[in-house]
């Protein structure tokens, strides 16, 4: 695989042809030997340990808090309540996505003051000499609560029967519509006049991201000058730096955020958390380092949840199955407060409800977000896009059943034809590229779709105990968040650019500084590959620096599959810029015209003069000594690029699977899983596959097992790994990945991003297979997760 010729430099710097190879990851040796440092591994002498007392009630007013017994405990340094810390905060915790002007956003402080609004809401905290003492002390704090009725049902919350934040007067945070004005009414007409209409309600159950590394925070005041270093297991060091400075009133230049190795995020570490602000605030107060590590059960309550939506979808089609209209009404559960980007999550889905299908502009979407007495939600792997894809893909199957045609055939009748790309969608956004039939055909072949259908017809006879189901889902993903102007139109309070600095050191080794902040995605390897390809050097000679705001001061971090299509592209562009400068130096040295120079394999050559050449190493040394540079050229080879993409990138794909359901036990076994994810040019196919595998299993887990369950009083019933069913190796199948590469025309690398693709495709694929297995028994509706009990119950209900 090659990169296309770069118009800026005229290079097609193919160097070692490293792009597209399955290079092993340079991150691995440190992680495999225990050398890698996670936030909780930081050795900080003299640190105090913080523990947070959390509300046992989902909804309660807080009366007096007696901290005397805790304070008296040996080794306890201090105890603080929300009221004690009121003056520590320059402003409440941030919500960076006020999607509408009238959005209701209650003040959210790191510790609740008058009222706790979910189980796990912090009400007091302790600083002690050891973690164990800090936890002992929590038990000695006496809080007077007055419990109030807890609201855990979204529609009940919308009725405002009980209002959670009194000052707002309502539980509704905002309503955001996406209706194309000139087409208003078309949707209703389509629902009235189309041959087929399916009307469905889907519940996106709450999920707990459950990264294997719980969060950890260390705040360290530097000995001189009032500077503060915050080590945190975060995905967003740069955002965290700005927000910590604003929330605590610390001059931003005095804040440094570092996240060494981070043990998974999936969106759950894309936030600004109470504990981060508490540690920094308290470290300033007491002048000592303060550290906190989250326990797993705390993680389940105090780290954001994902999904949590009710979707009402109406899909209309003509007699041939061509889609004629789509209406979506969404209720999004925000939990007790608005977290950093939570309000924007349902909006991201809005743009993808029609999936990969040609839809006339008869589209009508609106979402209403509501406060409940549960843990706040926010972006979780895919953020809005898995939810939207599930709705359209599950509804497509319902439509196919209604029409009595094959679900794959129905999809093919509606695919946006490849010749129409770039394609302006019903929403006004432009999809950059796609070849849906190809992805579907590859998947069809890998699964042996026709063969399985034949086997299914034989197997699923009346009375059969084990029934075979075949699932199909196709998807589009809007990723690489991205064009700052579009984000502005959605009221997002940040840009979508990414920054990269590339320097060739005097010895010709290369440093890449990136604003992205990986947590398992292998950026060090991929970014090294991009630079190695550009410079024609060995990837081992490239070092990638990241995740420390003192070393990489500019960045917007890692989420939403933006790293490669924005950050990686920035790296490539910065390399080109450096090569351009190096070319001027080389031309000067060889007394040639820069335009006559070619650069490949790490060597500058004068076209047509085979004896004239100069290796990059020599140019780098000249640039460093600066003894003889062209007039006006600055010494050293270092360039920075901040890249704001002109468009999102649009990965797409088809997933297919076969499941077998035991009708006596309700158990679903996934027999085969095929994922064809087209993420454009693949920098490192090994890493792409790994991302797909992990993503698929998270989606599959939503379909079959995972659910944050609350009782009516708002108690989380699944707060440990014993109760919340994260799949183990024995639960999941092998995954077959298929080849489909449609380069993105949006960026010079042709890349699109892949981190969320697997998750987006998987949940609808598996649920379509489950319903497909049982539809012959009259079962057409099972909500996720399709646990054995639920499946068995559905079969029983259909029988009676």
């Amino acid at each position: 695989m090659t990169i296309t010729e770069d118009p800026a430099t005229g290079n097609n710097a193919l160097g070692n042809n490293v792009l597209g190879t399955r290079l092993l990851r340079k991150e691995d040796p440190a992680l495999l030997t225990g050398e890698a440092v996670f936030a909780n591994d930081m050795k900080v002498p003299g640190a105090l340990y913080m523990a947070v007392l959390r509300s046992p009630y989902a909804h309660a007013t807080i009366g007096s808090i007696d901290t005397s017994a805790a304070l008296a405990l040996d080794g306890v340094h201090a105890v603080y309540t929300g009221a004690d810390l009121r003056d520590t905060w320059a402003s409440p915790m941030p919500c960076a996505w006020p999607v509408t002007d009238d959005m209701k956003n209650p003040a959210h402080y790191p510790l609740a003051v008058d009222k706790a609004v979910y189980v796990g809401d912090g009400v007091a905290c302790v600083l002690a000499e050891t973690d164990a003492i800090a936890h002992d002390a929590l038990e000695l704090i006496d809080v007077e609560y007055e419990p109030l009725e807890a609201i855990t049902d979204l529609e009940d919350a919308l009725s405002d029967r009980v209002v959670i934040h009194d000052e707002l007067g309502t539980n509704a945070s905002y309503t955001w519509p996406l209706v194309i004005e000139e087409n208003e009414g078309d949707c209703e007409a389509a629902m009235q006049n189309s041959a087929y209409v399916v009307k469905e309600r889907y519940v996106q159950q709450r999920l707990i991201p459950m990264a294997m590394e719980p969060r950890a925070v260390v705040a360290q005041p530097e000995p001189f000058g009032g500077n503060m270093t915050l080590y945190s297991s975060t995905q967003v060091p740069h955002i965290l730096k700005v927000m910590t400075a604003l929330t605590l009133g610390i001059p931003e230049q005095q804040m440094r955020v570092v996240c060494p190795a981070v043990g998974g995020g999936f969106g759950s570490k894309l936030n600004v958390y109470a504990e981060e602000l508490l540690c920094v605030g308290l470290a300033r107060k007491v002048g000592k380092p303060v550290r906190w590590n989250e326990e797993r059960s705390e993680n389940a309550q105090a780290t954001i949840h994902g999904r949590a939506q009710i979707q009402d979808i109406e899909l209309a089609a003509d007699e041939n199955g061509k889609l004629t209209g789509l209406r979506v009404r969404l209720i999004g559960d925000m939990g007790g407060y608005l977290q950093l980007v939570a309000p924007g999550v349902p909006l991201l889905g809005a743009f993808l409800y029609a999936g990969v299908y040609e839809l006339p502009k008869a589209f009508d979407f609106s979402c209403t977000s509501v406060f409940t007495n549960m843990t706040p939600t926010d972006a979780y792997r895919g953020a809005g896009r898995p939810e939207a894809t599930y709705a359209i893909e599950h509804a497509m199957d319902a439509l196919a059943r209604k029409m009595g045609i094959d679900p794959l055939e129905l999809r093919r009748r509606n695919f946006i034809p490849t010749v129409k790309y770039p394609y302006e969608a019903y929403t006004g956004l432009v999809y950059d590229s796609g070849d849906h039939d190809k992805a579907a055909t590859v998947a069809e072949g890998l699964l042996d779709y026709a063969g399985l259908r034949a086997r299914q017809a034989e197997q699923n006879v009346p009375g059969a105990r084990k029934r075979l189901g075949i699932g199909v889902s196709t998807y589009f993903e809007m990723c690489g968040l991205a064009p700052s102007r579009v984000l502005a139109s959605l009221n997002y309070s940040a840009g979508g650019w990414e920054s990269a600095t590339v320097r060739v050191l005097p010895t010709s080794k290369i440093q890449v500084v990136t604003g992205t902040s990986p947590h398992g995605q292998g950026h060090e390897t991929s970014w090294s590959m991009i630079a190695a390809e550009k410079f024609g050097v060995d990837p081992a000679d490239v070092d990638v620096l990241h995740s420390d705001t003192a070393i990489a001061p500019l960045g917007l971090d890692t989420y939403g599959s933006r790293s490669l299509p924005v950050g990686g592209v920035a790296v490539g562009m910065a390399c080109d810029k450096v090569i351009d400068k190096a070319k001027q130096i080389a031309a000067h040295q060889m007394e040639a015209n820069p335009d006559d120079l070619e650069f490949s394999g790490g060597v500058f050559r004068v076209a047509g003069q085979p004896d004239k050449e100069m290796p990059l190493a020599a140019v780098a040394f000249e640039a460093f000594t600066a003894h003889d540079l062209p007039d006006g050229l600055e010494p050293n080879l270092e360039e920075q690029v901040t890249y704001d993409p002109p468009n999102f990138s649009w990965p797409f794909g088809t997933h297919m699977c076969a499941v077998e359901i035991d009708t006596e036990t309700g158990r679903t076994e996934v027999l085969q899983y095929v994922a064809v994810d087209d993420c454009g040019v693949q920098v490192n196919p090994l890493i792409v596959e790994g991302q797909v595998h992990g993503g698929v299993v998270q989606g599959l887990a939503q379909a079959l097992w995972e659910e944050a369950r609350y009782d009516d009083d708002g108690n989380l019933q699944s707060s440990t790994l014993a109760e919340y069913l994260v799949p183990a190796a024995s639960d999941v199948p092998n995954i077959t990945t298929g080849e489909s590469v449609t380069p993105s025309p949006t960026n010079p690398l042709g890349v699109k991003g892949v981190g969320e693709a697997g998750t987006i495709g998987a949940a609808p694929c598996v649920m379509n297979a489950v319903v497909d297995a049982l539809s012959g028994l009259g079962v057409t509706d099972i909500q996720m997760p399709a646990t054995p009990l639920k499946v068995w119950q559905a079969i029983e209900d259909a029988r009676s």
Binding site: L24, F38, G263, R296, S730
Partner: protein, 152 residues
């Protein structure tokens, strides 16, 4: 109380509270932070180490229970010259890790698995790793890594 444990061949003697878990002894007292903690219910396996040659979850034992015994952690797997253990090498070659947080525990559990059954089937590997959770890889490449190490 004083607890003496030989970790990776080195005798460690530390005065600890009686309630100290083995994992805290290893991480905080012996200062070996390669062993990770992922849960508080002995469910995730991130803390797996070898105790007298067998994989155990170091969060389920008190340090005192390991008094006088031999523990091997992830830091003790590679050879002194830095050559990776065949299992570590197999994880590297098969992209058996992403964030790497579950990885030390996985490597410890997987080596102990092969000690008991040198030639496991894929099914046996999947069942054998049931106590170790990974949230990143979907297990596909972990299983591949273990099978590769078995045939190495």
């Amino acid at each position: 109380m004083e607890v003496t444990i030989t970790i990776n061949g080195e005798e460690q003697k530390h005065d600890v509270e009686a309630r100290t878990l083995l994992v805290h002894y290893i991480r905080e007292h012996a200062g070996l932070t390669g062993t990770n903690i992922g849960c508080d219910t002995s469910s995730c396996g991130a803390c797996s180490v070898h105790l007298n040659g067998e994989a155990v979850k170091s969060c389920t034992l008190l340090a005192a229970q390991a008094d006088g015994q031999e523990v091997r952690t992830i830091e003790g797997m590679a050879a002194a010259d830095g050559t990776l253990h065949p299992m570590q090498q197999a994880f590297m070659e098969n992209h058996g890790l992403q964030c790497g947080y579950c990885t030390p525990g996985m490597v410890m559990a997987a080596t102990s698995l092969l000690d008991e059954n040198a030639n496991p089937t894929e099914e046996e590997v999947r069942l054998g790793l049931e106590g170790n959770l990974c949230r990143c890889t979907g297990y596909h490449n972990i299983v591949k890594s273990v099978l590769a190490a078995a045939s190495a």
